[in-house]
């Protein structure tokens, strides 16, 4: 796993809120993006992503806890050249790395959709990492606030009763040889650790999805590293370019060690 060690991640997040961040990173007042880039991508150049990907995000969100964003790939996903990962970053969130989507060429398209929490006015970035290791970044500024600490919308009991339930939204026509868009919902409260329990007045401990593996006929198609910035009941939109019918399998795991697995047969009828 390419995850930052947990403790380091926490420190890193904490540094954002503090004036000392300027002392820690002395090169003038480094922006959050400079810090983020250094931690996540070390010294690798991050190129302008125009022409490679586009990021759809509302300039102003109506619900900061549920902001739908889409990354659209403008280049085809082929075995020779493909986007192997999309990093979704929210500069000013307590956990700025919302998710990393690792993509196989079998997706046919690196376009992805998800929903995020936005804690304050912030740039949202998508960084596409191609199979040769190059990085391409696009960004949008999103105005929203309070998304990470907004009260969980349902009561805890109800949230856990549906825990791990999945729903796959398939396209009307499942076409072999073409990228088909699939949308997966996984019921999970995605507690951020910043919400307060209504009854006990204690902080609800963080409890969120950590990894989601999507396999097509047993082969990894999409793997997601998730964090608290993904909204409650995460949505994962992705693509699949199948040669024929097959089995889509989803294996999800949360930070409490729970595992959720579900499979679907796709394309058998067409």
């Amino acid at each position: 796993m390419n995850r930052l060690p947990f403790a380091r991640r926490r420190l890193f997040a904490a540094a954002f809120g503090l004036p000392t961040a300027i002392l820690v990173f002395p090169a003038f007042a480094q922006s959050q993006w400079d810090v983020l880039r250094e931690v996540l991508f070390a010294n690798r150049p991050v190129l302008d992503g125009a022409g490679v990907i586009e990021l759809d995000a509302p300039s102003r969100a109506h619900d900061a806890a549920l902001v739908e964003v889409a990354v659209r790939a403008l280049v085809p996903q082929t075995p020779e050249r493909y986007v192997r990962a999309i990093h979704l970053l929210i500069d000013r969130n307590p956990a700025p790395r919302a998710a990393v989507f690792k993509l196989s060429p079998a997706t046919g398209s690196a376009s992805i959709t998800t929903r995020i929490r936005v804690n304050e006015y912030t740039p949202v970035r998508a960084v596409a990492e191609t199979n040769d290791g190059a990085l391409f970044m696009v960004e949008r500024f999103v105005k929203a606030s309070g998304g990470c600490s907004a009260p969980a919308s349902k009561d805890k009991e109800a949230a856990y009763a549906r825990l791990g339930r999945m729903k796959l939204l398939e396209p009307d026509r499942f076409v072999a040889g073409e990228p088909n868009e699939l949308r997966l919902l996984i019921s999970h409260p995605q507690y951020s650790g910043m919400q307060i329990d209504q009854l006990t007045r204690n902080w609800i401990p963080a409890d969120h999805l950590e990894t989601v593996r999507i396999l097509w006929n047993g082969e990894p198609l999409v793997e997601i590293e998730a964090d608290i910035s993904l909204s409650e009941d995460p949505l994962i939109g992705f693509h699949l370019k199948p040669e024929g019918p097959g089995e889509l399998r989803v294996e999800a795991a949360d930070i409490k060690g729970r595992n959720f697995v579900q499979s679907w047969q796709l394309g058998a009828g067409s």
Binding site: P58, H62, D63, A64, E68, P151, K167, D172, Q198
Partner: protein, 313 residues
């Protein structure tokens, strides 16, 4: 909901705002205008505005019921400043003891004045889930209201709920000649909606289970609200005092615009979800809101809330 109070810019300046802003002795209570809907049933009509310093959070309808022995207030206003003016208005009408404050749900325009009535010794009534909802959100609301309405919010403290009403188990308040019936509802506008029936006049004081003129806000459940409306419509009232809208309206005709809006929202969203239309596509090209006031923010927010609810069907 939080969204209701956050990120709003007051665009309208209504007559109430002008009236208040022009008041030379700010800080002292000035009786709030009340409309006598029926004998002993008075309503303050809230402004169809976002929260502004001028309206002091006073955007919801507030009701006062005067009985032979005691007085009950339904909803406390959007700030202690508005609550004090409501109290002053009651005192110009009657000197009977103010024994009960009934809160119809947890939104700030209905509860932020509650501490004023606590100080008069009123017992505070609410839905069995109200106290938890208030505990969860009060500090967020208070901070947002400080930003939006300013010093009017000073003194807004959380209040304990003395008397709770459970779903399916109505409770009664006897004011002497009039008995109020309090009913708690399953999740609809919010998860803690309460209505009051004034049997003496056949008037249903509906809180925000009924919106008129101003666009309904979904902070509970769209499908739950539609179900609750079916039960509400069967209540044999002659008229209703809506949470937002005119002082009173004929019942159950008053429900028609709200039902039409919520039903058409459910139909449009179910169709979009079935066709695989994403939430962002829908927000970019939303179904029409109709001619509701203040829909520019609230309609997209309703779509978001309803989409998330309906995509799991």
């Amino acid at each position: 909901m939080l969204g209701m109070v956050a990120d709003r810019r007051g665009l309208l300046t209504g007559s109430l705002a002008l009236l208040v802003a022009g008041r030379p002795w700010a800080g002292r209570a000035a009786p709030l205008p009340l409309v006598e809907v029926e004998p002993g049933l008075l309503v303050h009509v809230g402004a169809h505005e976002d929260f502004t310093p001028g309206n002091r959070g006073g955007i919801a309808n507030l009701a006062v019921l005067i009985g032979e022995e005691a007085v009950a207030v339904i909803d406390a206003g959007g700030s202690p400043a508005q609550g004090r003016d409501l109290l002053a208005a009651i005192r110009t009408r009657t000197d009977r003891p103010l024994r009960h404050l009934i809160l119809t749900h947890h939104h700030p325009d209905h509860v932020m004045g509650a501490s004023v009535f606590r100080e008069t010794g009123a017992r505070i009534w609410g839905h069995v889930r109200l106290e938890a909802a208030l505990r969860d959100r009060f500090s967020t609301y208070r901070a947002a209201m400080e930003r939006l309405v300013g010093p009017s919010i000073d003194g807004a403290d959380p209040v304990p709920i003395d008397e709770v009403v459970s779903i399916g188990a109505a409770r009664h308040i006897d004011l002497g000649d009039r008995v109020l019936e309090l009913s708690a509802w399953p999740t609809a506008h919010t998860d803690c909606d309460l209505t009051v029936m004034d049997g003496l006049t056949g008037t249903l004081i509906a809180g925000d289970l009924v919106f008129m003129e101003r666009i309904p806000v979904i902070d509970g459940s769209l499908l739950g609200w539609l179900r609750v409306m079916e039960d509400l419509a069967r209540i044999p009232a002659r008229r209703v005092v809506p949470g937002h809208g005119p002082a009173s309206a004929a019942w159950p005709d008053a429900l028609v615009p709200q039902r039409r809006y919520l039903e058409s929202l459910a139909v449009a969203l179910r169709r979009s979800i079935a066709r695989g239309r994403s939430l962002s596509a829908l927000l970019a090209d939303p179904p029409p809101a109709g001619d509701w006031l203040l829909s520019s923010d609230n309609h997209p927010r309703n779509i978001t809330a309803a989409y998330k609810e309906l995509e799991w069907e």
